[in-house]
Every structure is written in C-alpha cells, then in structure tokens.
C-alpha cells in the first residue's frame, strides 16, 4: 500500500506520533499552527491594507517586507514563504496568478477561492488577462498598465489596492470592511 491509499486519519496519527516522538515539533506548536491556519482569512489581509491606507510608515514597511508587516499585525508567518506586496498605483494594476499550481498567501488571505486553482483562471490570467478581469466587471482606465505576477517559486504575493474615493475620514475598521479577497488578488478593485 502506498501513502495515497492509506487511511488518512491513521496516517495523520502515525505522522504526528513520529514528529512528536522524534522531537521535531511539540504538541503546543501543532496546536498553535492549527489555530493560525483556522484564523487565516481575507480579513487579515484587509486589516493590513486598511492600515497601509492610513499609515504611510506602515505602507512603506508593507511594500518593503510583507512578512514583517504581517507579523506587525500579529499574523503568524514563522516558517512560511516570504510575502511580497504589489502596489497598485494610478499607472499600474497588478493581477496575481500561479500558472503552475495554486501558490497563494494563505497566512494573510486564507484558503484560495476555488477559481484561483482552476485551469481556466491560470491559463487566462496570462493570455487573456483583461478579458478575464472584465468578467468581474473590472475595466482598467485607459493607459493603465497591467502587471500580471505569475507566482512560480518561493514567494507569495498579495496586491495592495488603491484606496477608493469617497472614503475620506473613515476609520481603519470601516476601511478594512470594504477590502475583498479579489481586491488583493487583483481581479477586482475596492469600491464604495
């Protein structure tokens, strides 16, 4: 019998027993990792985006080192691939894809949406990117450059969208509430 045919619960129990027995990880570390995986959701990334919109120093940190910026918001990043943050500006719009598989910044965005892993999204994001985001109702202003970022190796990428007009004077909590998963992938743009 190979690993793929094994009963998953028994396999998990056996692997956990070995990891603990050999001192590779402690039960506390496993519990902590399960908790951080469960708490990962787009709300974490949205908190980062909202803070970047209101705090120029934090914005600079986020663009320089996404991992440190996430940790500054108490998002556990230890042992995870480095997080890169892609800044949308008046001139540039970023769109993230992983054409080879489904690399995704899970610590800050949670599990990827089902379509992110689909062959259609992965193929069209590089060949038909403007047609693809148009299906979300996203049309870029004339002259804006589209930057497709194919996440092929050791980094994980999230988009820092532009703060929408009409949000002047809003609190960080109000701002975080309008930032959606798709805004941080680049298929949509935050709006109010």
């Amino acid at each position: 019998m190979n690993v793929l045919e094994a009963d998953s619960e028994k396999l998990l129990e056996a692997v956990l027993g070995l990891l603990k027995g050999k001192g590779v990880v402690t039960p506390e570390e496993i519990t902590a990792r399960i908790a951080s995986t469960d708490s990962a959701s787009p709300a974490q990334g949205a908190r980062m985006v909202a803070r970047a919109w209101t705090d120029p120093e934090y914005r600079a940190l986020m663009l320089r080192d996404g991992t440190v910026a996430a940790e500054a918001m108490d998002i556990p990043m230890r042992g995870l691939p480095p997080l890169g943050v892609l800044e949308n500006t008046d001139e540039v719009h970023n769109l993230v894809v992983c054409t080879l598989c489904s690399c995704y910044p899970r610590a800050v965005l949670g599990y990827p949406p089902f379509w992110f892993k689909s062959a259609a999204y992965r193929a069209r994001a590089v060949r038909d990117p403007r047609g693809l985001i148009a299906e979300w109702g996203t049309t870029l202003p004339e002259g804006m450059q589209l930057r497709v970022v194919d996440s092929t190796a050791d980094y994980r990428w999230m988009v820092l969208p532009r703060r929408p007009h009409g949000t002047e004077g809003w609190s960080v909590e109000q701002l975080a509430a309008i930032v959606r998963e798709g805004d941080m992938i680049g298929v949509t743009i935050p709006s109010v």
Partner: protein, 116 residues
C-alpha cells in the same frame, strides 16, 4: 549575479523530455527575453527538493516580460501549421493584453542567460 535592468533569456530547455522532474519555470517563457527587476533572495533549488535530494541555494530573480509579445511572436510558418490543427483557437483566442502590459515571474539563476 544578475543586476536590476540586466537583459536575460530564459533557457530554451525541456527537461520534461528527459525524464521525471519538477520545474518551476513555466513553459510559455522558455526561450523568451526579459529584464531583471530585482533579486528576491536565495532559495533551495526546488528541482532537487522535490525529489528529496541535497538542494543547494540558488538566486531567485523577479524577471519582467512584455506580455503581448509572448503570444504574438509566432512567425508565418508556425501559423500555417497551427491553423491546420487548431484553426478556431488562433482566430478567436487572441490575447487581450494591451500594449505595455507586462508579466513578472520568479525565475532561478540557472534558467537565465545574460544577454549582452
């Protein structure tokens, strides 16, 4: 080591034809020319890691490519062949990338050849 702004060509190589392998360089970029944006760091070579072999650290770069050019470089002889096989694909599935649109991809140093 490569520097920001260096022009590079992705190796036109297909290890997939020689046996089992794990390659993080997308097919659509093999043989394409791009520009180094920055060095992202050093990471253990996934081509060895995937097979639990000793894996040395290699430099990883963010490399930028002109996006429309990736899909619009076919020469006339290629188009004739493709039209025979997949006529509708070529006629109806043009790229929607606009002039100036780019694609930025993480590529390992051993896949990049520096151009003069």
């Amino acid at each position: 080591m490569l520097a920001e702004g260096d022009r590079v060509r992705v190796k036109l190589d297909w290890p997939e034809t020689r046996g089992p392998c794990h390659i993080r360089t997308p097919h659509y970029l093999r043989g394409r020319e791009g520009v180094v944006e920055r060095r992202l760091g050093s990471f253990r070579n996934p081509e060895d890691l995937a097979f639990a072999r000793p894996a040395e650290e290699r430099d990883l770069y963010h490399v930028r490519f002109d996006l429309p050019a990736i899909w619009q470089e076919a020469d006339a002889s290629e188009i004739v062949v493709c039209e025979l096989i997949e006529q509708t694909y070529l006629l109806e599935d043009e790229t929607s990338a606009g002039a100036g649109d780019v694609i930025v991809v993480e590529l390992f140093e051993h896949w990049l050849e520096k151009l003069a």
